[in-house]
């Protein structure tokens, strides 16, 4: 079955959505990410949507669900790279993705994750 790959980078997970997702694929990603967070005890998830040409209410709900599930599992989710036209449309559609942390690109998204999980990371590093 078709799946969106989830990369493991230390305590974080990285997902780049590069396909026009049908609804089942989006649900699959939501389930897979929740599984991985729990299995690998991940502390953060970075979701890169820079190649997504639209975010409709279904994808928006998926992103909100992932953020909520991550939080319940003691992890943080950051959505990065939303295109300006997508942001305009999403807000007009009526979704503001409340509760979902965002950053402009992968780099600042990673910085945000390290910031949120800073203490833990220093412990590991030191």
């Amino acid at each position: 079955m078709e799946r969106i790959p989830i990369l493991r980078m230390g305590q974080f997970l990285l997902v780049t959505i590069q396909v026009d997702m049908h609804d089942r694929l989006a649900m699959q990603l939501q389930d897979d990410l929740t599984q991985r967070i729990s299995e690998w005890n991940s502390k953060g998830v970075l979701i890169d949507i820079s190649t997504l040409e639209i975010v409709d209410s279904f994808i928006g709900r998926m992103l909100a669900n992932i953020a909520a599930m991550a939080r319940v599992l003691d992890a943080e989710a950051v959505v990065v790279g939303m295109q300006p036209a997508v942001a305009i449309t999403l807000v007009e559609l009526g979704m503001s993705l409340e509760g979902v942390r965002t950053a402009l690109n992968v780099e600042s998204g990673m910085e945000l994750l390290y910031e949120l999980r800073g203490d833990f990371h220093e412990e590991i590093g030191g």
């Binding site: 639209i54 209410s57 449309t89």
Partner: protein, 134 residues
């Protein structure tokens, strides 16, 4: 409003919703809509196609290039053979849902287009027509 070109696509599976999005994107680019307008059209198409599939048991989408004396536009018609909508006003309200969604599909897509028309016959189906003008 005069139609200059039209094409019909089936909406029977969630893969068809993806194809419907791609078709609308392709037409919107050909008609030289701005990127924001393309995005709004494709997002509205996605919401309405999913709606026809999830609530209307599938149907089809008609894409049309239209023009009147002043301007050109892209018209999308979604027809399903589902149970119909008994209270259209309620269905257009944000947060109203009979499925598992956010209830943004109808009201939300209405905000993304210029013209929005909905006809529904309980027991027979629903037809939603939207136009975005250039």
């Amino acid at each position: 409003m005069r139609s200059t070109k039209r094409e019909t696509l089936p909406i029977a599976t969630s893969a068809d919703v993806v194809l419907a999005r791609q078709k609308v994107r392709q037409w919107a680019i050909e008609m030289k809509f701005t990127l924001v307008d393309q995005t709004k059209l494709v997002t509205a198409a996605s919401e309405l196609a999913r709606n026809a599939l999830d609530h209307g048991k599938g149907g089809h989408m008609v894409v049309e290039a239209v023009e009147n004396t002043a301007r050109t536009g892209l018209k999308l018609t979604f027809e399903d053979r589902g149970p119909g909508i008994t209270d259209i006003e309620a269905a257009l309200r944000d947060g109203f849902t009979t499925g598992g969604g956010m209830g943004l599909g109808l009201g939300g897509s209405k905000r993304l287009v210029n013209d929005f028309h909905i006809e529904s016959q309980p027991g027979k189906g629903t037809r939603i027509t939207v136009v975005r003008w250039k």
